[in-house]
């Protein structure tokens, strides 16, 4: 498959870009932050997303969605990255929709997927527990109690955790932290007794929460997939999330770079445009090359996910690792080349730096994914 967008995909990009740049430029995020908006995103805009078919983009058509693929999801994420729009798209439409589609039984799919597609249900995967993304280190405990289970433990960096209507919780039903065996996914009502949600205001002013589970009772029906056997499902779903976040970082990097190059063409010092200085030109050129290479690696990963998710892991690791280092470089150069202006809150560049830092941690940072590639290659 060619590593360029098809005509249909270009049209999807254009319509997403039109909506997002019009309704949610960076000032949208700034307003949500400054007004201390309790939800941290715009429900109205989310309904527009649903009307345009984006909310259910990955949801199969039989459940009311568009039944599109990960390349298409990446296109939306890239546009979200350009304006830093806070949106349930990643947690609900990409990750949760994928978990339910790939691992849910018929009843679970019928109950939740149509609501995701029509924009009426927000859902999120609660996976991380420690400071770093280590899915196999999951230690939140689920013990059998009666016909169901009781959950105890805590989750961190649960994206949209404080507004979600449905939590998909990774728990350990057997084995010890670090083992692949013994992981199970549960569908949990955030209003259930024993669930305590603390919204965490993050550096990037996007939505996340810490959630504690104190003997939370769930029925056997709330198990998603097989008991003890969630690792395989998680591998695939996390890779989908990684590919999506890589795409967001490509959009973010490209936008911050475009703004920086424009600044180099307009700012004068020593009687010259600063873009005339070779020291800056060469750094800008290197960054451009980095971004193009990362863009290609990300498209490759998304296509690999669409083609055969079981074989996509190395390509996804490459994409997420590259996206992390490239975005980090792009925002650092962006702030540096904007000089003192780059340090002001009034200027948007800082928002990109903050979001890049969060994206880097989401679903594993560059070191994590570089390590995964080394292991996959057997050294």
């Amino acid at each position: 498959m060619a590593l360029v967008l098809t005509e249909e995909q270009s049209m999807l990009r254009d319509s997403a870009r039109g909506l997002i740049s019009d309704k949610a430029p960076v000032s949208h995020l700034r307003h949500l932050r400054d007004s201390k908006d309790p939800t941290g995103f715009s429900r109205e805009l989310w309904h527009s997303f649903a009307e345009m078919g984006f909310a259910g983009l990955l949801v199969p058509e039989e459940y009311g969605g568009s039944g599109l693929g990960y390349v298409e999801a990446g296109i939306i994420m890239e546009e979200i990255g350009r304006t830093l729009m806070p949106s349930p798209f990643l947690a609900t439409s990409v990750v949760a929709a994928s978990v339910l589609t790939r691992g849910g039984n018929a009843a679970q799919k019928s109950e939740y997927l149509p609501k995701i597609a029509n924009g009426s249900l927000l859902a999120t995967l609660a996976i991380d527990e420690g400071a770093k993304h280590r899915p196999l280190q999951t230690s939140l405990k689920a013990v059998r109690a009666g016909n169901g289970f009781k959950l105890s433990g805590a989750k961190a960096l649960v994206v949209d955790g404080h507004v979600a209507d449905l939590l998909i919780v990774a728990a350990r039903t057997a084995g010890a932290a670090g083992e692949r065996e013994g992981l199970t996914l549960f569908l949990v009502n955030p209003k259930a007794k024993g669930v305590a949600i603390e919204r965490t205001i993050m550096v990037d002013a996007h939505n996340a929460a810490r959630i504690e589970f104190a003997n939370v009772e769930v029925t056997a029906d709330s198990v998603l997939g097989e008991v003890d056997q969630a690792a395989g499902l998680l591998d695939g779903v996390l890779d989908i999330g990684r590919g999506a976040v890589a795409a967001e970082m490509v959009g973010l990097s490209d936008e911050v770079f475009g703004r920086t190059v424009e600044y180099l063409k307009g700012r004068k010092q020593f009687g010259k445009l600063i873009g005339e200085f070779q020291a800056l030109q060469h750094r800008a050129a290197e960054l451009y090359i980095d971004i193009e290479i990362t863009r290609a690696a990300t498209m490759k990963a998304l296509q690999a996910l669409d083609a055969d998710i079981a074989k996509a892991a190395p390509a996804v690791a490459v994409a997420k690792a590259r996206a992390g280092t490239t975005a980090t470089r792009a925002v650092q150069e962006g702030v540096q080349m904007h000089g003192g202006m780059g340090m002001t809150d009034q200027f948007d560049i800082g928002f990109f730096m903050k979001r890049a830092r969060v994206c880097e941690e989401l679903f594993g940072d560059a070191n994590y994914h570089t390590e995964q590639l080394a292991r996959a290659r057997g050294y």
Partner: protein, 404 residues
């Protein structure tokens, strides 16, 4: 619906092509040609004096030549395979699948051919392209001069008019394999009064012409792949100019794009054993099978990430060109990154090899193959335009930065 059906039948045709190609390659590519080339003798360059280093090399070359697959995407009338871009991609993928070597390597294929296809007249195409495709003529490139390196357009080799001929005098340097080449494509100054880019012509001539001499240059690798090339009253018909007289810079630049794409693809990317496993041979592994040098392991892993990403970008560059969306200066971006990456690869190999990688002359070290290859890569970021020149081109032509 009509469109959908067309594309369905196109992709069905492509699948048929893939199946047939796979079967043909399986039947016709000798097992010895399915391993990466490890020495110069493993590469077949063609030419009047060419010798095959092995029987499988000859068989593989001849079979591919007979299908036109030394130049799969050139038109059949010029000795090519006449494949579409999509079919060519399939052939490349199928060759990569079994690790098949290129049957013929040549500057005629990589550089002159594309320039002739775009700028050559019909007679020039008919004379030269089939001989390139068939490996009968080996070409070299007369570009750089002692005082015209990065500033190539300041070249001074002059061609003075004498009736229907030019008389050429001057000196070229870094002429790769000039001592083995049959013909040269050469930049000469045909109008010394014009501005430096405007008085240059692109001309072809036989290296056995009277007045041509070459002298190999010994490099830090101990090899002499480059020569100094001297022209002393060399007589060349004006009909050998490609494109318009004094407009040779257009041809030169177009050819450089291809040269840069070629150099960016140098190195053993994606074939052979993974770097981490090569390193494990000398460094060893710990109880978990991890390379027993955490810092080196991290360095290799970061290299592998970048290498895989660059491979995706190279694939995308081809796809963009096909779709008519490529920026003409993008080959400079690829050249920069590809050559810097290849230097990194060889620094890692030297570090992994430790003391064993220092031997310069022994059977054990295959006559110092590793350190010589390491030193050779240092030229990658100089030849065909330095890394600094590449970044300047990206800044000026792609980013449109001022005054670059």
């Amino acid at each position: 619906m009509t469109d959908l059906k067309t594309s369905d039948s196109e992709s069905a045709d492509l699948e048929t092509f893939r199946t047939e190609t796979r079967a043909w390659l399986e039947a016709n590519c000798p097992p010895e040609m399915r391993k990466p080339a490890t020495s110069d003798a493993d590469v077949f360059w063609g030419g009047r004096n060419a010798k095959f280093s092995s029987e499988p090399q000859r068989i593989w070359f001849e079979r591919m030549r007979d299908k036109g697959w030394t130049v799969p995407d050139w038109p059949k009338e010029y000795g090519g395979g006449g494949l579409s871009a999509a079919e060519h991609k399939v052939l490349r993928a199928e060759m990569a699948r079994i690790g098949a070597r290129p049957p013929l390597s040549s500057f005629g294929i990589w550089m002159l051919g594309p320039a002739l296809l775009k700028y050559g007249n019909e007679a020039q195409k008919k004379v030269h392209l089939p001989k390139i495709a068939a490996g009968e003529v080996r070409w070299c490139q007369g570009y750089s001069e002692p005082n015209a390196g990065s500033d190539l357009a300041s070249l001074q080799t002059r061609a003075e008019s004498d009736g229907d001929d030019f008389i050429i005098n001057g000196q070229k340097i870094w002429t790769s394999y000039a001592n083995y080449a049959d013909w040269i494509f050469c930049l000469v100054r045909t109008d010394p009064t014009a501005k430096k880019h405007d008085g240059i012509s692109f001309i072809l001539f036989d290296m056995t012409s009277k007045g041509v001499s070459t002298k190999p240059i010994l490099l830090i690798s101990g090899y002499s792949p480059f020569c100094e090339t001297f022209f002393d009253n060399v007589r060349v018909p004006k009909s050998h100019v490609v494109g318009t007289i004094n407009r040779g810079w257009d041809v030169a630049k177009y050819l450089l794009q291809h040269e840069r794409a070629m150099i960016s693809g140098m190195g053993e990317r994606g074939v052979g054993r993974p770097l981490g496993q090569i390193a494990a041979d000398s460094v060893g592994t710990d109880g978990q099978g991890k390379l027993d040098d955490a810092m080196l392991r991290g360095r290799i892993a970061r290299f592998d990430v970048d290498e895989a990403a660059l491979a995706a970008c190279a694939e995308r560059a081809v796809d963009l060109a096909k779709a008519g969306q490529a920026h003409p200066a993008f080959s400079s971006a690829m050249k920069y990154y590809g050559t810097e990456l290849n230097k990194r690869r060889h620094e890692i190999l030297m570090s992994a090899g430790g003391v064993d990688a220092l031997e310069w002359e022994s059977e054990r070290s295959r006559q110092g193959a590793r350190p010589r290859a390491w030193l050779r890569t240092k030229a990658n970021s100089i030849e065909g335009g330095t890394s600094e020149v590449m970044l300047g081109i990206v800044a000026k032509r792609i980013l449109d930065l001022p005054g670059a």
